[in-house]
Symmetry: C2
């Protein structure tokens, strides 16, 4: 279980490796099963979701599986009215804009609302011989979809609500945090052996915004997981300026993207946490020799870290050649032998 | 001319302020003139372009005008086959993917190819009593549009070419740098009193990528402008990890976004350059009192800088209330009296 050991900053025989969105459109076997239907439909079918989770583990020999699901699944499950448009992302017909919208965020009852997800986890634990990672979207990132009504580059409406009506903002983030915590605890109970919190868009925030408007809710989630003894991974993109705060929020492992070297990230997170990253998924579209050199550089930059989980700095791009990812897995395993 | 003085780190009576994309859809008088036509058509009409440049200066009393134009104008002018789709951005029917495509990047002849732009500058100098800023897109940002064929979140094809065929990449960036330099020199000859280089998407790069694949071309542009004695501004978004290199590339003023405080940015750029920024344009959608507090914080963070030009960290969002920007201009002028 080198993945769990690395998360806990314990000795490992080799550096563990997995890829965010390793189950995805880059795999022909994935496209064959998924077709063009909604991801939410696939997630609702435990046999399909389990098979999609297993595909990259079988193909690549990665050191962890990540549950095939989506960060908006709990929102869809409580009837918020959110869909995932292929090629676009989560969209809402009726975005959250005012206090009254908060009534649509009812408390989640995981055993009922997330029954298929939990069933998928139970199926997978019977099949897998590597650890299974459960996950959830962090309150800020989920709130951004609720408020914007879809993906955004600027988060203008989100920040407008955050600053213009902080009471509503905090109530929204608290409600999201409660559901997030309930979902993650239920996933762990069902068998998830590590938990990743995706605050994918936190990098759009200033330090002040993160500290005052986001960190309190995030911190409560990590604190609420601490009794489980399950490694907690905290991930975002473009978060170089926030890494110290993201570490402080209570994770065991902090995700780092390619903009910050692992050594700099270790400095910023206090050199006592494991780091996960940080190969640029865009580089994985280059010829395999280039990708291998970049992967070697990541291993080199990881020298002396208390713990390192090799990953990309963001999800696998759909155009990625699976052969390239295979080469990365093999290289990491071969060249990181202790 | 407090704007030029601040760029040169000379004493000023008040902090100068202007806004990136101050001429834009947020202004009713802009929408009345522009309608729904192509921006390239508006740029090609000097009377229209001059009027659009003047509108925000008249309305807000900002301390600088920025030429109404677009970073892809020189590419369109040499016949690359690029259009600007409203609401989407620059798009190419035939993206650049291989060495043979470089033949489409012919050297620009500014007096011919950019005749309307230079005429606009001449018209404006006769009208303006604040300095006029000319500008160009930086080689990396322009290359990303050429290679991706449109806006991108990941820059996968761009990085694939960069790493996979560095010879073609460097030839492309060199050609873009030559045209960029020629365009900027011609703008200065026509009367532009400061020049801003927009490397808007440089923040997607790792330090290594920036240093090896982007900085050499950028550096040549700034060096090629040094004899003009015109302040050179270097701008990008999400460039916290690159600020030292962007300063090293040869600018007089470095643009900073809201992710990095002005004090941190001053540390990273060596405390000898002027800084421009760094109010978050998304915050400008919040109630005016919130925006004023945020603007005050920017002024506070700017204390002791060698030079400070107040601006946003990126362009004005189309949904922005002009009254809010007016309040920011007035606040900066009133509360920064030396």
């Amino acid at each position: 279980m080198r993945f769990l050991a690395a998360c806990r900053c314990q000795p490992v025989d080799r550096t563990p490796v997995w890829f965010m969105r390793q189950a995805g459109r880059s795999l022909p076997e994935y496209r064959a099963i998924r077709g063009d239907g909604s991801i939410l439909k696939a997630v609702a079918n435990p046999d399909v979701a389990a098979e999609l989770t297993l595909q990259p583990v079988r193909r690549y020999g990665v050191d962890a599986a990540i549950l095939f699901s989506d960060i908006v699944v709990p929102l869809a499950a409580i009837g918020v009215g959110i869909e995932v448009e292929p090629g676009r992302g989560p969209v809402l017909d009726q975005p959250f804009r005012r206090e009254a919208d908060l009534s649509r965020l009812r408390p989640i009852e995981p055993e009922l609302d997330l029954a298929p997800v939990l069933e998928t986890i139970r199926l997978l634990r019977a099949e897998l011989d590597v650890p299974l990672i459960g996950f959830a979207g962090a309150p800020f990132t989920l709130a951004s979809y609720l408020v914007e009504g879809g993906p955004s580059r600027t988060f203008g409406r989100t920040k407008s609500l955050m600053h213009g009506d902080p009471a509503t903002w905090h109530r929204m983030l608290d409600a999201l945090a409660e559901n997030c915590l309930a979902s993650l605890r239920a996933q762990a109970s069902a068998g998830a052996q590590a938990l990743q919190l995706f605050d994918s868009w936190a990098g759009s925030l200033s330090r002040r915004e993160y500290r005052d408007f986001v960190m309190p809710a995030t911190r409560r989630i990590f604190a609420g997981l601490s009794d489980l003894g399950v490694p907690r991974i905290h991930f975002g993109v473009g978060t170089g300026e926030l890494l110290d705060l993201m570490a402080e929020a209570g994770a065991d492992v902090v995700g780092v993207d390619w903009r910050v070297s692992l050594q700099d990230a270790a400095e910023r997170t206090g050199r006592h946490l494991a780091l996960q990253g940080n190969l640029d998924p865009a580089i994985c579209l280059a010829p395999v020799g280039v990708v291998e050199d970049a992967a070697r550089q990541v291993l080199k930059d990881a020298a002396g870290l208390p713990g390192h989980v090799f990953n990309l700095g963001h999800g696998v791009l759909p155009e990625t050649d699976p052969g390239v990812l295979q080469a990365v897995v093999d290289l990491v395993h071969e060249e990181s032998v202790r």
